[in-house]
């Protein structure tokens, strides 16, 4: 049994719909779900004004449609699953504490911002501030995993404390800005200022990076933890090279300006 929602017409202004969460739907009847309140701009309207709703009382949520203006899907969810067939708006899975979200399409900014735990997989591209801290907050994501198959925007993993972010496509600027822990894996590299002001944590890039001047080259090595990571990532179809016969990681440490103990590992094929 699932709850399946089809978007009837795209909203003309952003639709804030934090009720699109398995926790909210789990105990509700179909008619209760239809009358949940969403915010079309400033107007409070029932969910059914924008969605056809099938099913009830389930923590498996399936969404269909062009949802790019629909924000806060899965916000603060703690369990269950959301599957989206289409593209979604900002704050997908922000502050979530558990459960999983899968998007067959693109996502926007602030995916998994300040999330505590859980799993997000976006098959298309994403925006900026993935797993980041909101303005002023000291810590971004504290645990969990975010995978984006495509490209990403600015400030990915800003101030993240734990957890893993994996980007299949390239990122833009300030990836891992002020990072405090956790791991960011860049399969296609990033533009500039990667790891700027990072304190702790690890950024692994399989493509060459333009390093910040305040990172110092330490050594070439093949750390065993990459080995461990590789095994974990296999289930998502991601292969990290780690054997010495394939090449080695150049290890940079920084950011000296903090001064921080973060590390950036850049893969150098043999």
């Amino acid at each position: 049994m699932t709850v399946t929602l089809h978007l009837k017409q795209p909203p003309s202004v952003p639709l804030e719909a934090e009720v699109l969460s398995p926790n909210v739907m789990a105990e509700l009847s179909n008619s209760e779900i239809r009358s949940l309140v969403v915010y079309h701009g400033k107007r409070q309207v029932p969910l059914e004004e924008f969605f056809d709703v099938e099913g009830e009382r389930s923590d498996e949520l399936i969404l269909h449609g062009e949802l790019t203006k629909v924000r806060m899907i899965g916000r603060a969810m703690s369990s269950g699953s959301i599957t989206v067939h289409g593209s979604v708006g900002m704050h997908l899975g922000a502050r979530m504490t558990g459960g999983s979200i899968e998007v067959h399409g693109d996502a926007s900014d602030w995916i998994g911002a300040e999330m505590m735990n859980g799993f997000i997989h976006v098959h298309g591209n994403a925006g900026g501030q993935i797993g980041a801290a909101y303005r002023g907050a000291l810590a971004g994501m504290k645990n969990g995993t975010i995978i984006v198959d495509g490209a990403a925007g600015l400030e990915v993993g800003m101030r993240m404390r734990r957890g893993t972010i994996i980007l299949g496509g390239p990122a833009v600027d300030f990836t891992g800005l002020q990072m405090k822990g956790g791991t960011i894996i860049l399969l296609s590299g990033a533009e500039i200022r990667t790891g700027a002001w990072m304190n702790r944590g690890t950024i692994i890039s399989l493509k060459p990076l333009q390093m910040m001047p305040t990172f110092a080259y330490a050594s070439d090595f093949n750390p065993t933890f990459v080995n461990v990571y590789t095994k974990r990532l296999k289930q998502f179809g991601i292969n990290l090279p780690f054997t010495a016969s394939q090449g080695a990681y150049q290890r940079y440490s920084g950011d000296l300006s903090v001064p921080g103990k973060g590390e950036i590992l850049v893969w150098q094929p043999a």
Binding site: S12, V13, G41, K42
Partner: protein, 115 residues
């Protein structure tokens, strides 16, 4: 004709907001802005008390201020997500009312700073 003088006038052209300007004016235009810099002088001398523009325009046609006020209120009130923006070249007194407007409308509020 003798010009009237205002001492310690304030120039709002740039963020320095110098308040030591001496303005010489004849009630229609300012003829001299002593102590003001080139930018400030141009700002003071380019404005006049003449009526160069229509009071208001609605869809490009001249209208009274009252008509324009009512039309503006209707358009803003009908919107689902109105935006109040700018707030640079205006007084604090007007800015406070603009914040009140966004609050009253339930809309977006933003200034030049975010650019």
């Amino acid at each position: 004709m003798t010009l009237q003088i205002i001492d310690n006038a304030t120039c709002t052209f740039c963020g320095c907001v110098c308040d030591d300007i001496q303005l010489h004016h004849d009630e229609v235009r300012i003829h001299e802005a002593k102590k003001a810099c080139v930018l400030g002088t141009a700002y003071f001398l380019n404005h006049t008390a003449e009526k160069k523009y229509p009071d208001a325009l609605i869809d490009g046609k001249e209208a009274t201020v009252e008509e324009a006020v009512q039309t503006a209120a209707t358009l803003l009130h009908e919107a689902d997500m109105p935006l109040v923006y700018g707030l640079s070249n205006t007084t604090c007194e007007a800015q406070k009312l603009c914040v009140a407007m966004a609050d009253q409308l339930g809309g977006l509020l933003d200034s030049h700073t975010s650019l």
